[in-house]
Protein backbone atom coordinates (compact mmCIF):
# COMPACT_ATOMS: atom_id res chain seq x y z
CA UNK A 1 0.00 0.00 0.00
CA UNK A 2 1.66 3.23 -1.02
CA UNK A 3 1.23 6.69 0.39
CA UNK A 4 -1.09 7.67 -2.43
CA UNK A 5 -3.45 4.80 -1.67
CA UNK A 6 -3.50 5.66 2.01
CA UNK A 7 -3.95 9.35 1.34
CA UNK A 8 -6.99 8.53 -0.79
CA UNK A 9 -8.74 7.04 2.20
CA UNK A 10 -9.16 10.46 3.83
CA UNK A 11 -11.05 13.22 2.08
CA UNK A 12 -12.20 16.61 3.34
CA UNK A 13 -15.74 15.47 4.10
CA UNK A 14 -15.48 11.72 4.38
CA UNK A 15 -13.17 8.80 5.19
CA UNK A 16 -13.11 5.30 3.80
CA UNK A 17 -14.37 2.52 6.09
CA UNK A 18 -11.05 0.70 5.64
CA UNK A 19 -9.45 3.13 8.07
CA UNK A 20 -11.51 1.48 10.82
CA UNK A 21 -11.66 -2.09 9.60
CA UNK A 22 -8.66 -3.05 7.46
CA UNK A 23 -6.03 -5.18 9.28
CA UNK A 24 -3.23 -3.93 6.98
CA UNK A 25 -4.13 -0.32 7.78
CA UNK A 26 -4.14 -1.21 11.49
CA UNK A 27 -0.62 -2.65 11.25
CA UNK A 28 0.56 0.50 9.51
CA UNK A 29 -1.03 2.61 12.26
CA UNK A 30 0.95 0.68 14.84
CA UNK A 31 4.14 1.36 12.92
CA UNK A 32 3.68 4.89 11.62
CA UNK A 33 1.36 6.51 14.16
CA UNK A 34 1.78 4.67 17.48
CA UNK A 35 5.38 4.07 16.46
CA UNK A 36 6.14 7.79 16.10
CA UNK A 37 3.83 9.97 18.17
CA UNK A 38 4.34 10.87 21.81
CA UNK A 39 2.23 8.37 23.75
CA UNK A 40 1.02 8.87 27.30
CA UNK A 41 2.51 6.08 29.42
CA UNK A 42 1.73 7.06 33.01
CA UNK A 43 2.21 9.57 35.77
CA UNK A 44 5.32 10.38 37.81
CA UNK A 45 3.38 9.54 40.99
CA UNK A 46 3.20 5.90 39.85
CA UNK A 47 6.99 5.64 40.11
CA UNK A 48 7.86 7.77 43.15
CA UNK A 49 10.88 5.97 44.57
CA UNK A 50 13.95 4.54 42.82
CA UNK A 51 13.13 1.02 41.67
CA UNK A 52 9.38 1.68 41.37
CA UNK A 53 8.07 0.31 38.10
CA UNK A 54 4.92 -0.64 36.24
CA UNK A 55 4.30 -2.34 32.91
CA UNK A 56 2.17 -0.96 30.11
CA UNK A 57 1.94 -0.86 26.33
CA UNK A 58 2.93 1.67 23.73
CA UNK A 59 0.61 0.67 20.93
CA UNK A 60 1.17 -3.06 21.18
CA UNK A 61 4.79 -2.87 22.39
CA UNK A 62 5.18 -4.13 25.96
CA UNK A 63 7.24 -1.68 28.01
CA UNK A 64 8.35 -1.11 31.58
CA UNK A 65 8.19 2.39 33.07
CA UNK A 66 10.72 2.63 35.89
CA UNK A 67 12.36 5.25 38.16
CA UNK A 68 16.10 4.61 38.17
CA UNK A 69 18.54 5.44 40.99
CA UNK A 70 19.62 8.56 39.10
CA UNK A 71 16.09 9.92 39.62
CA UNK A 72 15.14 9.70 35.97
CA UNK A 73 12.22 7.76 34.59
CA UNK A 74 13.15 5.29 31.87
CA UNK A 75 10.82 3.43 29.55
CA UNK A 76 12.30 0.09 28.59
CA UNK A 77 11.24 -2.43 26.00
CA UNK A 78 10.09 -5.36 28.12
CA UNK A 79 12.24 -7.81 26.25
CA UNK A 80 15.38 -9.71 27.14
CA UNK A 81 18.37 -9.03 24.88
CA UNK A 82 19.06 -12.77 24.77
CA UNK A 83 16.11 -14.59 23.27
CA UNK A 84 13.31 -12.05 23.54
CA UNK A 85 11.55 -13.18 26.71
CA UNK A 86 9.53 -10.60 28.59
CA UNK A 87 11.73 -9.77 31.55
CA UNK A 88 9.18 -8.18 33.88
CA UNK A 89 6.17 -10.37 34.57
CA UNK A 90 4.47 -8.36 37.33
CA UNK A 91 2.11 -5.47 36.69
CA UNK A 92 3.96 -3.19 39.12
CA UNK A 93 6.36 -3.21 42.03
CA UNK A 94 9.79 -2.14 43.19
CA UNK A 95 13.04 -3.78 42.15
CA UNK A 96 16.77 -3.14 42.38
CA UNK A 97 17.29 -5.04 39.13
CA UNK A 98 15.24 -6.91 36.57
CA UNK A 99 16.21 -10.55 36.09
CA UNK A 100 14.97 -12.62 33.18
CA UNK A 101 13.30 -15.83 34.28
CA UNK A 102 14.73 -17.81 31.37
CA UNK A 103 18.55 -17.72 31.70
CA UNK A 104 19.09 -15.24 34.49
CA UNK A 105 20.29 -12.23 32.53
CA UNK A 106 20.15 -9.32 34.96
CA UNK A 107 19.42 -5.72 34.00
CA UNK A 108 19.78 -2.49 35.94
CA UNK A 109 16.67 -0.37 36.09
CA UNK A 110 17.97 1.89 33.34
CA UNK A 111 17.85 -1.13 31.03
CA UNK A 112 21.61 -1.70 30.86
CA UNK A 113 22.79 -5.29 31.15
CA UNK A 114 24.51 -5.92 34.46
CA UNK A 115 25.39 -9.59 34.46
CA UNK A 116 24.95 -12.80 32.52
CA UNK A 117 25.38 -16.27 34.12
CA UNK A 118 28.07 -18.44 32.45
CA UNK A 119 28.81 -15.43 30.24
CA UNK A 120 31.94 -17.04 28.80
CA UNK A 121 29.68 -19.38 26.82
CA UNK A 122 28.42 -16.58 24.61
CA UNK A 123 30.28 -15.04 21.65
CA UNK A 124 33.87 -13.94 22.30
CA UNK A 125 33.00 -10.33 21.47
CA UNK A 126 29.96 -10.34 23.77
CA UNK A 127 29.81 -6.85 25.25
CA UNK A 128 27.74 -6.27 28.37
CA UNK A 129 27.71 -2.55 27.62
CA UNK A 130 26.20 -2.88 24.15
CA UNK A 131 22.82 -1.13 24.41
CA UNK A 132 21.32 -3.65 22.00
CA UNK A 133 22.04 -6.38 24.60
CA UNK A 134 20.06 -4.53 27.23
CA UNK A 135 16.37 -4.02 27.76
CA UNK A 136 16.44 -1.49 24.96
CA UNK A 137 15.38 1.95 26.04
CA UNK A 138 12.50 3.67 24.31
CA UNK A 139 14.44 6.54 22.72
CA UNK A 140 12.49 9.54 23.98
CA UNK A 141 10.87 10.06 27.38
CA UNK A 142 9.63 13.37 28.73
CA UNK A 143 7.02 14.67 31.09
CA UNK A 144 4.78 17.67 31.42
CA UNK A 145 3.76 18.57 34.99
CA UNK A 146 3.98 14.93 36.02
CA UNK A 147 2.36 13.37 32.95
CA UNK A 148 4.85 10.95 31.37
CA UNK A 149 5.04 10.59 27.62
CA UNK A 150 7.36 8.47 25.48
CA UNK A 151 8.04 8.04 21.78
CA UNK A 152 9.28 4.97 19.97
CA UNK A 153 10.83 7.23 17.32
CA UNK A 154 14.34 8.58 17.80
CA UNK A 155 13.54 11.88 16.11
CA UNK A 156 10.62 14.21 15.85
CA UNK A 157 9.11 17.23 17.58
CA UNK A 158 9.79 17.52 21.30
CA UNK A 159 6.98 16.93 23.77
CA UNK A 160 6.23 20.63 24.28
CA UNK A 161 5.94 21.15 20.51
CA UNK A 162 3.81 18.01 20.22
CA UNK A 163 1.40 19.11 22.94
CA UNK A 164 1.30 22.73 21.82
CA UNK A 165 -1.65 24.58 23.30
CA UNK A 166 -2.97 21.35 24.89
CA UNK A 167 -0.55 21.96 27.77
CA UNK A 168 -3.27 24.29 29.02
CA UNK A 169 -5.60 21.30 29.46
CA UNK A 170 -3.04 19.63 31.71
CA UNK A 171 -2.62 22.96 33.51
CA UNK A 172 -6.40 23.04 34.05
CA UNK A 173 -6.28 19.70 35.82
CA UNK A 174 -3.10 20.24 37.86
CA UNK A 175 -3.92 23.83 38.86
CA UNK A 176 -7.12 22.63 40.54
CA UNK A 177 -5.00 20.94 43.22
CA UNK A 178 -4.38 23.38 46.11
CA UNK A 179 -0.79 22.11 46.38
CA UNK A 180 -0.34 22.18 42.60
CA UNK A 181 0.26 18.43 42.28
CA UNK A 182 -1.71 15.34 41.41
CA UNK A 183 -1.27 11.76 42.51
CA UNK A 184 -2.59 8.57 40.89
CA UNK A 185 -4.86 6.67 43.28
CA UNK A 186 -8.00 4.57 43.54
CA UNK A 187 -7.26 1.66 41.23
CA UNK A 188 -7.18 1.34 37.45
CA UNK A 189 -10.27 0.32 35.49
CA UNK A 190 -9.53 -1.87 32.48
CA UNK A 191 -12.38 -2.25 30.09
CA UNK A 192 -12.45 -3.70 26.62
CA UNK A 193 -14.77 -3.22 23.67
CA UNK A 194 -15.32 -4.65 20.21
CA UNK A 195 -14.35 -1.64 18.16
CA UNK A 196 -11.53 0.35 16.62
CA UNK A 197 -9.32 2.53 18.84
CA UNK A 198 -10.28 5.71 17.00
CA UNK A 199 -13.93 5.41 17.98
CA UNK A 200 -13.44 6.47 21.59
CA UNK A 201 -11.53 9.62 20.66
CA UNK A 202 -14.39 10.56 18.35
CA UNK A 203 -16.98 9.80 21.03
CA UNK A 204 -15.28 11.68 23.86
CA UNK A 205 -15.63 15.02 22.06
CA UNK A 206 -18.97 14.23 20.41
CA UNK A 207 -21.65 16.61 21.62
CA UNK A 208 -24.46 15.11 19.59
CA UNK A 209 -24.41 11.52 20.77
CA UNK A 210 -25.45 11.92 24.44
CA UNK A 211 -29.05 12.71 23.57
CA UNK A 212 -29.29 9.50 21.60
CA UNK A 213 -26.82 6.97 22.94
CA UNK A 214 -27.44 7.88 26.58
CA UNK A 215 -31.16 8.55 26.38
CA UNK A 216 -32.01 5.53 28.53
CA UNK A 217 -29.77 6.64 31.39
CA UNK A 218 -31.07 10.21 31.09
CA UNK A 219 -34.69 9.04 31.21
CA UNK A 220 -33.92 6.76 34.13
CA UNK A 221 -32.26 9.58 36.08
CA UNK A 222 -35.15 11.96 35.37
CA UNK A 223 -37.62 9.48 36.80
CA UNK A 224 -35.64 8.66 39.91
CA UNK A 225 -37.24 9.48 43.22
CA UNK A 226 -35.06 11.81 45.28
CA UNK A 227 -36.35 10.11 48.46
CA UNK A 228 -34.50 6.90 47.84
CA UNK A 229 -31.70 6.21 50.27
CA UNK A 230 -28.27 7.17 49.02
CA UNK A 231 -24.84 7.25 50.62
CA UNK A 232 -23.83 9.81 48.01
CA UNK A 233 -22.99 7.34 45.25
CA UNK A 234 -26.48 7.21 43.82
CA UNK A 235 -26.80 10.98 44.01
CA UNK A 236 -23.61 11.46 41.97
CA UNK A 237 -24.84 8.80 39.54
CA UNK A 238 -28.19 10.50 39.12
CA UNK A 239 -26.60 13.92 38.62
CA UNK A 240 -24.07 12.70 36.07
CA UNK A 241 -26.65 10.72 34.14
CA UNK A 242 -28.80 13.86 33.95
CA UNK A 243 -25.95 15.92 32.49
CA UNK A 244 -26.08 13.88 29.31
CA UNK A 245 -29.65 15.10 28.93
CA UNK A 246 -28.66 18.69 28.32
CA UNK A 247 -30.68 20.08 25.45
CA UNK A 248 -29.53 19.82 21.86
CA UNK A 249 -29.54 23.61 21.91
CA UNK A 250 -26.92 23.56 24.70
CA UNK A 251 -24.68 21.14 22.83
CA UNK A 252 -25.05 22.98 19.55
CA UNK A 253 -24.88 26.59 20.68
CA UNK A 254 -23.40 26.83 24.16
CA UNK A 255 -20.42 24.53 24.15
CA UNK A 256 -17.84 24.35 21.42
CA UNK A 257 -14.86 22.41 20.13
CA UNK A 258 -11.24 23.49 19.82
CA UNK A 259 -8.82 21.48 17.68
CA UNK A 260 -5.06 21.68 17.22
CA UNK A 261 -2.33 20.31 14.95
CA UNK A 262 -1.39 16.73 15.67
CA UNK A 263 -5.02 15.65 16.10
CA UNK A 264 -5.61 17.04 19.61
CA UNK A 265 -8.86 18.68 20.73
CA UNK A 266 -11.14 19.57 23.63
CA UNK A 267 -14.75 20.43 24.27
CA UNK A 268 -14.94 23.80 25.95
CA UNK A 269 -17.50 26.18 27.44
CA UNK A 270 -18.96 23.07 29.02
CA UNK A 271 -19.03 23.87 32.74
CA UNK A 272 -20.96 26.73 34.06
CA UNK A 273 -22.16 27.51 37.53
CA UNK A 274 -25.38 25.67 36.91
CA UNK A 275 -23.51 22.38 36.56
CA UNK A 276 -21.19 23.08 39.41
CA UNK A 277 -23.85 24.66 41.62
CA UNK A 278 -24.81 21.40 43.24
CA UNK A 279 -21.20 20.92 44.20
CA UNK A 280 -20.69 24.55 45.10
CA UNK A 281 -23.46 24.25 47.68
CA UNK A 282 -21.70 21.28 49.21
CA UNK A 283 -19.82 22.27 52.41
CA UNK A 284 -16.85 20.07 51.52
CA UNK A 285 -16.59 21.73 48.11
CA UNK A 286 -16.68 25.07 49.90
CA UNK A 287 -13.78 23.84 52.03
CA UNK A 288 -11.90 22.93 48.84
CA UNK A 289 -12.51 26.37 47.35
CA UNK A 290 -11.22 27.89 50.58
CA UNK A 291 -7.99 25.93 50.27
CA UNK A 292 -7.58 26.96 46.65
CA UNK A 293 -8.12 30.59 47.63
CA UNK A 294 -5.56 30.32 50.43
CA UNK A 295 -3.05 29.01 47.91
CA UNK A 296 -3.74 31.46 45.10
CA UNK A 297 -6.04 34.22 46.24
CA UNK A 298 -9.74 34.48 45.44
CA UNK A 299 -9.34 35.91 41.97
CA UNK A 300 -6.91 33.29 40.71
CA UNK A 301 -8.94 30.50 42.37
CA UNK A 302 -12.04 31.67 40.51
CA UNK A 303 -10.04 31.79 37.28
CA UNK A 304 -8.88 28.21 37.80
CA UNK A 305 -12.39 26.92 38.49
CA UNK A 306 -13.87 28.87 35.59
CA UNK A 307 -11.98 26.89 32.94
CA UNK A 308 -14.86 24.97 31.45
CA UNK A 309 -13.31 22.15 29.48
CA UNK A 310 -14.89 18.71 29.33
CA UNK A 311 -12.80 16.03 27.62
CA UNK A 312 -9.35 16.88 26.23
CA UNK A 313 -7.96 14.39 23.69
CA UNK A 314 -4.20 14.00 23.15
CA UNK A 315 -3.90 12.13 19.87
CA UNK A 316 -3.52 9.25 19.53
CA UNK A 317 -3.66 7.59 22.92
CA UNK A 318 -5.20 9.53 25.77
CA UNK A 319 -8.03 11.72 26.95
CA UNK A 320 -8.75 13.34 30.29
CA UNK A 321 -11.15 15.63 32.07
CA UNK A 322 -10.42 17.95 34.95
CA UNK A 323 -13.69 18.35 36.81
CA UNK A 324 -13.45 14.86 38.31
CA UNK A 325 -9.80 14.20 37.45
CA UNK A 326 -9.74 11.05 35.37
CA UNK A 327 -7.60 10.07 32.40
CA UNK A 328 -8.19 7.31 29.87
CA UNK A 329 -5.40 5.51 28.02
CA UNK A 330 -6.12 3.78 24.71
CA UNK A 331 -4.51 0.41 24.02
CA UNK A 332 -5.26 -0.89 20.50
CA UNK A 333 -5.39 -4.68 20.28
CA UNK A 334 -6.88 -5.35 16.83
CA UNK A 335 -8.82 -3.32 14.22
CA UNK A 336 -12.04 -4.14 16.09
CA UNK A 337 -10.79 -4.65 19.65
CA UNK A 338 -9.48 -2.06 22.08
CA UNK A 339 -8.72 -1.82 25.78
CA UNK A 340 -9.11 1.37 27.81
CA UNK A 341 -7.27 1.85 31.12
CA UNK A 342 -8.51 4.60 33.41
CA UNK A 343 -6.30 6.51 35.85
CA UNK A 344 -7.78 8.62 38.64
CA UNK A 345 -6.03 11.46 40.42
CA UNK A 346 -6.07 12.80 43.94
CA UNK A 347 -5.46 16.52 44.25
CA UNK A 348 -2.73 17.15 46.81
CA UNK A 349 -3.96 19.55 49.45
CA UNK A 350 -7.65 18.94 48.76
CA UNK A 351 -10.19 17.43 51.20
CA UNK A 352 -10.72 13.67 51.01
CA UNK A 353 -14.31 14.17 49.83
CA UNK A 354 -13.03 15.48 46.50
CA UNK A 355 -11.41 12.12 45.79
CA UNK A 356 -14.49 10.30 47.02
CA UNK A 357 -16.39 12.13 44.30
CA UNK A 358 -13.67 11.19 41.78
CA UNK A 359 -14.22 7.51 42.59
CA UNK A 360 -18.00 7.83 42.43
CA UNK A 361 -17.88 9.67 39.14
CA UNK A 362 -15.53 7.05 37.70
CA UNK A 363 -17.86 4.23 38.75
CA UNK A 364 -20.86 5.80 37.06
CA UNK A 365 -19.23 7.02 33.83
CA UNK A 366 -16.06 4.97 33.25
CA UNK A 367 -16.85 1.88 35.24
CA UNK A 368 -17.33 -1.56 33.85
CA UNK A 369 -20.88 -1.53 35.22
CA UNK A 370 -21.63 2.03 34.19
CA UNK A 371 -25.21 2.66 33.08
CA UNK A 372 -23.76 5.31 30.77
CA UNK A 373 -20.65 3.68 29.31
CA UNK A 374 -22.36 0.40 28.49
CA UNK A 375 -24.50 2.10 25.86
CA UNK A 376 -21.33 3.57 24.29
CA UNK A 377 -19.75 0.09 24.22
CA UNK A 378 -22.85 -1.28 22.49
CA UNK A 379 -22.58 1.53 19.94
CA UNK A 380 -18.93 0.72 19.21
CA UNK A 381 -19.79 -2.95 18.67
CA UNK A 382 -22.54 -1.93 16.22
CA UNK A 383 -20.09 0.32 14.37
CA UNK A 384 -17.77 -2.66 13.92
CA UNK A 385 -20.68 -4.66 12.62
CA UNK A 386 -21.69 -1.88 10.27
CA UNK A 387 -18.15 -1.60 8.89
CA UNK A 388 -18.54 -5.09 7.46
CA UNK A 389 -21.30 -3.84 5.23
CA UNK A 390 -20.37 -3.03 1.66
CA UNK A 391 -23.51 -0.94 1.28
CA UNK A 392 -21.34 2.14 1.28
CA UNK A 393 -17.58 2.54 1.59
CA UNK A 394 -17.63 6.05 2.97
CA UNK A 395 -18.06 7.50 6.44
CA UNK A 396 -19.36 11.09 6.49
CA UNK A 397 -17.43 13.46 8.77
CA UNK A 398 -18.68 16.77 7.43
CA UNK A 399 -21.11 17.86 10.14
CA UNK A 400 -21.07 21.65 10.76
CA UNK A 401 -18.04 22.06 8.49
CA UNK A 402 -19.20 25.49 7.34
CA UNK A 403 -18.83 26.75 10.93
CA UNK A 404 -15.13 25.87 11.23
CA UNK A 405 -13.07 28.96 12.11
CA UNK A 406 -9.36 29.51 12.64
CA UNK A 407 -8.13 29.79 16.20
CA UNK A 408 -4.87 30.86 17.81
CA UNK A 409 -1.91 28.51 18.23
CA UNK A 410 -2.45 27.04 14.79
CA UNK A 411 -5.79 25.61 15.81
CA UNK A 412 -9.39 25.68 14.72
CA UNK A 413 -12.63 26.25 16.55
CA UNK A 414 -16.25 25.36 16.08
CA UNK A 415 -18.87 27.26 18.06
CA UNK A 416 -21.01 24.16 17.57
CA UNK A 417 -20.41 21.39 20.11
CA UNK A 418 -22.07 18.87 17.79
CA UNK A 419 -19.58 19.52 15.00
CA UNK A 420 -17.39 16.77 13.61
CA UNK A 421 -14.47 19.20 13.40
CA UNK A 422 -12.47 17.09 15.86
CA UNK A 423 -12.86 14.00 13.66
CA UNK A 424 -11.74 15.92 10.58
CA UNK A 425 -8.78 17.21 12.58
CA UNK A 426 -7.81 13.72 13.77
CA UNK A 427 -7.93 12.30 10.27
CA UNK A 428 -5.85 15.18 8.97
CA UNK A 429 -3.18 14.23 11.52
CA UNK A 430 -3.71 10.55 10.74
CA UNK A 431 -3.01 11.11 7.07
CA UNK A 432 0.21 12.99 7.81
CA UNK A 433 1.51 10.24 10.06
CA UNK A 434 0.47 7.48 7.69
CA UNK A 435 1.86 9.02 4.51
CA UNK A 436 4.84 11.26 5.16
CA UNK A 437 6.10 10.07 8.51
CA UNK A 438 4.56 12.26 11.13
CA UNK A 439 5.36 15.85 10.32
CA UNK A 440 3.24 17.96 12.62
CA UNK A 441 1.33 21.05 11.61
Amino acid sequence: MNAHDIGDLVEATRVHRRVYADPDIFELEMERLFGRAWLFVGHESQVKAPGDFFTTFMGRQPVVVVRHQDGNVYVLNNRCGHRGTQVVGEAAGNADNFTCCYHGWMYRTDGSLRSVPLGQGYASDFDLDDPARGMVRVPRVDSYRGFLFASLAEDGPGLDDFLGYMTTSFDDMVDRAPDGELEVAGGIFKHTYDGNWKLVLENWCDGLHPNFVHISSVDTARGQSADTHTDGSGEIARRQMLQNGASLDFWENDCGLWTFPGGHCYIGDYHDDEKLVATRKDPEFAEYIGLLESAHGAERAEEILAVGRWNSNIYPNCSFMSQFRSLRIIHPIAPDRTQINVLLFKMKGAPEKMFLDTVRFANVTNGTGSPVLTDDLETYARISGGMESQGSDWIDVSRAMEQDQPFDHGGSHSPNGTSEIHIRNMFSAWREYMTDGGARG
Binding site: T220, Q224, G367, E378
Partner: protein, 165 residues
Protein backbone atom coordinates in the same frame (compact mmCIF):
# COMPACT_ATOMS: atom_id res chain seq x y z
CA UNK B 1 -18.05 -5.42 61.78
CA UNK B 2 -16.88 -8.35 63.82
CA UNK B 3 -18.63 -11.65 63.35
CA UNK B 4 -19.56 -13.36 66.55
CA UNK B 5 -20.64 -16.94 66.94
CA UNK B 6 -24.36 -17.26 66.31
CA UNK B 7 -26.37 -18.20 69.33
CA UNK B 8 -28.69 -20.62 67.59
CA UNK B 9 -28.14 -23.11 64.82
CA UNK B 10 -29.19 -21.80 61.41
CA UNK B 11 -31.60 -23.40 59.04
CA UNK B 12 -29.13 -23.72 56.21
CA UNK B 13 -31.78 -25.07 53.86
CA UNK B 14 -33.91 -21.93 54.30
CA UNK B 15 -30.90 -19.76 53.67
CA UNK B 16 -30.01 -21.73 50.54
CA UNK B 17 -33.62 -21.56 49.33
CA UNK B 18 -33.46 -17.79 49.67
CA UNK B 19 -30.23 -17.57 47.67
CA UNK B 20 -31.72 -19.86 45.02
CA UNK B 21 -34.76 -17.56 44.89
CA UNK B 22 -32.52 -14.52 44.34
CA UNK B 23 -30.71 -16.39 41.56
CA UNK B 24 -33.97 -17.46 39.92
CA UNK B 25 -35.28 -13.89 39.87
CA UNK B 26 -32.06 -12.72 38.20
CA UNK B 27 -32.12 -15.58 35.68
CA UNK B 28 -35.73 -14.76 34.81
CA UNK B 29 -34.92 -11.05 34.48
CA UNK B 30 -37.43 -10.20 37.23
CA UNK B 31 -35.32 -7.30 38.40
CA UNK B 32 -38.02 -5.33 40.25
CA UNK B 33 -38.76 -8.37 42.39
CA UNK B 34 -35.02 -8.87 42.86
CA UNK B 35 -34.80 -5.31 44.18
CA UNK B 36 -37.61 -6.12 46.66
CA UNK B 37 -35.31 -8.67 48.29
CA UNK B 38 -33.05 -5.83 49.47
CA UNK B 39 -33.50 -3.47 52.40
CA UNK B 40 -34.21 0.22 51.79
CA UNK B 41 -30.60 1.14 52.59
CA UNK B 42 -28.91 -1.85 50.98
CA UNK B 43 -25.88 -1.82 48.74
CA UNK B 44 -24.66 -4.12 45.99
CA UNK B 45 -20.96 -4.35 45.35
CA UNK B 46 -18.69 -6.09 42.87
CA UNK B 47 -15.15 -5.04 43.92
CA UNK B 48 -12.44 -4.44 41.35
CA UNK B 49 -9.55 -5.46 43.56
CA UNK B 50 -9.00 -8.71 45.39
CA UNK B 51 -9.75 -8.18 49.07
CA UNK B 52 -10.85 -4.60 48.39
CA UNK B 53 -11.46 -2.93 51.74
CA UNK B 54 -14.11 -0.44 50.77
CA UNK B 55 -15.87 1.03 47.74
CA UNK B 56 -14.99 4.63 48.58
CA UNK B 57 -11.25 4.96 48.05
CA UNK B 58 -10.99 2.48 45.18
CA UNK B 59 -13.17 2.04 42.12
CA UNK B 60 -15.42 -0.99 41.70
CA UNK B 61 -16.81 -2.98 38.80
CA UNK B 62 -20.17 -2.14 40.35
CA UNK B 63 -20.85 -0.22 43.55
CA UNK B 64 -24.52 0.62 43.92
CA UNK B 65 -26.21 2.17 46.91
CA UNK B 66 -29.99 1.74 46.97
CA UNK B 67 -30.55 4.69 44.63
CA UNK B 68 -28.01 3.35 42.12
CA UNK B 69 -29.63 -0.10 42.30
CA UNK B 70 -32.98 1.46 41.44
CA UNK B 71 -31.43 3.43 38.58
CA UNK B 72 -29.86 0.25 37.23
CA UNK B 73 -33.08 -1.77 37.42
CA UNK B 74 -35.35 0.97 36.11
CA UNK B 75 -33.09 1.47 33.11
CA UNK B 76 -34.24 -1.93 31.76
CA UNK B 77 -37.73 -0.53 31.34
CA UNK B 78 -36.72 2.45 29.22
CA UNK B 79 -37.40 2.10 25.50
CA UNK B 80 -33.84 2.80 24.31
CA UNK B 81 -31.48 0.81 26.47
CA UNK B 82 -29.25 0.04 23.50
CA UNK B 83 -26.96 -2.30 25.41
CA UNK B 84 -29.98 -4.54 25.98
CA UNK B 85 -31.52 -4.44 22.52
CA UNK B 86 -30.27 -8.00 22.48
CA UNK B 87 -31.05 -9.16 25.98
CA UNK B 88 -28.57 -10.73 28.33
CA UNK B 89 -29.76 -13.98 29.91
CA UNK B 90 -28.01 -15.55 32.88
CA UNK B 91 -27.84 -18.88 34.61
CA UNK B 92 -26.62 -18.94 38.20
CA UNK B 93 -25.35 -21.92 40.14
CA UNK B 94 -24.99 -21.38 43.88
CA UNK B 95 -22.99 -23.68 46.09
CA UNK B 96 -20.72 -23.94 49.13
CA UNK B 97 -23.24 -22.01 51.21
CA UNK B 98 -21.94 -21.35 54.71
CA UNK B 99 -22.97 -19.14 57.59
CA UNK B 100 -19.93 -17.23 58.81
CA UNK B 101 -21.70 -15.71 61.79
CA UNK B 102 -23.69 -12.65 62.73
CA UNK B 103 -22.60 -9.03 62.71
CA UNK B 104 -23.35 -6.52 65.43
CA UNK B 105 -26.57 -5.48 63.69
CA UNK B 106 -27.81 -9.05 63.94
CA UNK B 107 -27.44 -9.68 60.22
CA UNK B 108 -26.43 -13.19 59.21
CA UNK B 109 -23.21 -13.23 57.22
CA UNK B 110 -23.63 -15.87 54.52
CA UNK B 111 -20.94 -16.83 52.05
CA UNK B 112 -21.50 -18.86 48.91
CA UNK B 113 -19.77 -19.67 45.67
CA UNK B 114 -21.61 -18.41 42.65
CA UNK B 115 -20.98 -19.17 39.00
CA UNK B 116 -22.88 -17.29 36.34
CA UNK B 117 -23.20 -17.95 32.66
CA UNK B 118 -24.06 -14.79 30.77
CA UNK B 119 -25.39 -15.10 27.25
CA UNK B 120 -25.97 -12.17 24.89
CA UNK B 121 -26.60 -13.10 21.31
CA UNK B 122 -23.70 -15.32 20.27
CA UNK B 123 -21.50 -14.24 23.15
CA UNK B 124 -21.21 -16.41 26.24
CA UNK B 125 -19.30 -15.21 29.27
CA UNK B 126 -18.38 -17.05 32.47
CA UNK B 127 -18.25 -15.07 35.66
CA UNK B 128 -17.92 -16.44 39.14
CA UNK B 129 -16.49 -16.19 42.59
CA UNK B 130 -17.57 -15.82 46.15
CA UNK B 131 -20.66 -13.96 47.29
CA UNK B 132 -21.11 -12.54 50.76
CA UNK B 133 -24.68 -11.71 51.70
CA UNK B 134 -25.69 -9.95 54.90
CA UNK B 135 -29.21 -11.15 55.63
CA UNK B 136 -31.73 -9.65 58.02
CA UNK B 137 -34.96 -11.34 59.07
CA UNK B 138 -38.04 -9.14 58.70
CA UNK B 139 -41.55 -10.43 59.20
CA UNK B 140 -40.48 -14.03 58.84
CA UNK B 141 -38.48 -13.68 55.65
CA UNK B 142 -34.98 -12.73 54.72
CA UNK B 143 -33.93 -9.38 53.33
CA UNK B 144 -30.51 -8.60 51.89
CA UNK B 145 -28.77 -5.76 53.74
CA UNK B 146 -25.80 -6.00 51.39
CA UNK B 147 -24.43 -8.26 48.67
CA UNK B 148 -20.77 -8.43 47.80
CA UNK B 149 -19.61 -10.50 44.82
CA UNK B 150 -15.84 -11.09 44.70
CA UNK B 151 -15.21 -12.28 41.17
CA UNK B 152 -12.25 -14.60 40.74
CA UNK B 153 -11.07 -12.39 37.83
CA UNK B 154 -12.06 -9.06 39.35
CA UNK B 155 -8.84 -7.37 38.26
CA UNK B 156 -8.87 -8.57 34.64
CA UNK B 157 -9.98 -6.38 31.73
CA UNK B 158 -13.74 -6.75 31.28
CA UNK B 159 -16.35 -5.88 28.72
CA UNK B 160 -19.28 -3.96 30.19
CA UNK B 161 -21.68 -5.29 32.83
CA UNK B 162 -25.33 -4.51 32.14
CA UNK B 163 -27.39 -7.01 34.15
CA UNK B 164 -27.02 -7.57 37.89
CA UNK B 165 -25.41 -10.95 38.62
Amino acid sequence: MEARVAEAPHDIRSIEAFLFLEAALLDERRYEEWLDLFTEDAHYWIPMERGQENPFDTVSLIYDDRMSMELRVRQFDTPNRHAQAVKTWTSHVIGNVMVAGEDQDGALIVTSNCHVLEAKGEALRNLGGRCTHRLLVRGGSYLIASKRFDLVNCDAPHDGFTVPI
